[in-house]
Amino acid sequence: MNLAAARPELRLPGVGGIWVFVFADMTMFALMFVCFMLDRHASPALFEESRQALNRDFGGVNTLILLTSSMLVVLAIEAMKRGRPRLAPGFFALALACGCAFMVSKAFEYTGKFQAGITMLTNDFFMYYFILTGIHLVHVIAGNVVLAVLWRKSRSAPAGGSLSLYESGATYWHMVDLLWVCLFPLLYLVR
């Protein structure tokens, strides 16, 4: 008898609409990346000199934080899929803790800049730095709200229930992570 391996069914996690939102948001950010690169091309010396004022360690650690939080969200949903829903709230809570750590780190980073007299109006590089990371930070704050909701709801989620809400929330959070994976090298490492 031929035991062919069953082909896993192709499906999009969560609701389709959230993916439309995600791709639209990502496209807007990609356009802003291009704007940044074009303005950088026009003033490479200014941009490089300003980049030196950024703290690479903050940026790198923030990337590690968000990647870890994304992983934790994946594990939370995996737990719900495998009939171990009791593990999910813990994972969501840890992911939320990471998200909060990112916000705290950002607060320190921005404060440091302000104390050094650097603001969004200092020059074009810092305009992009504050606005791109600022818009991203707004996404992180919204994402933390989403994670908090998923944490609360997963505490009373029945085993085998619909995962649509969780997968949709997770998709949004992964987008937030993915955008930072792009933003960090773009602003901090391109030289």
Binding site: V34, R56, S70, H174
Partner: protein, 86 residues
């Protein structure tokens, strides 16, 4: 530990290590700026691809969505790199 969890952890480890390499390795003055920048951009594109495929589940998604993801990564990376090299 199921194989799914193992692959998630493996991908995460790869993402973390490549982040460290870009942030603290390739950024050192000893590495030429152009080499460092292009390498960092390529690594970032790969990381985004991994997040899309393994974390977001696009690996098991219908083809149109996988294409959309691939096109975004390719277009964004290409645009940034072309302007950088111009």
């Amino acid at each position: 530990m199921s194989s799914a969890v193992k692959s998630i952890l493996a991908v995460w480890l790869l993402l973390m290590l490549s982040t460290a390499a870009s942030t603290w390795g390739l950024s050192r003055p000893a590495v030429a700026p152009t080499v460092s920048t292009l390498a960092v951009m390529v690594i970032a594109a790969i990381k985004v691809g991994l997040v899309m495929a393994y974390f977001m589940g696009l690996r098991c998604a219908p083809l149109p969505w996988r294409l959309a993801g691939a096109i975004w990564v390719a277009a964004a990376a290409a645009a940034v790199m072309i302007i950088y090299l111009a």
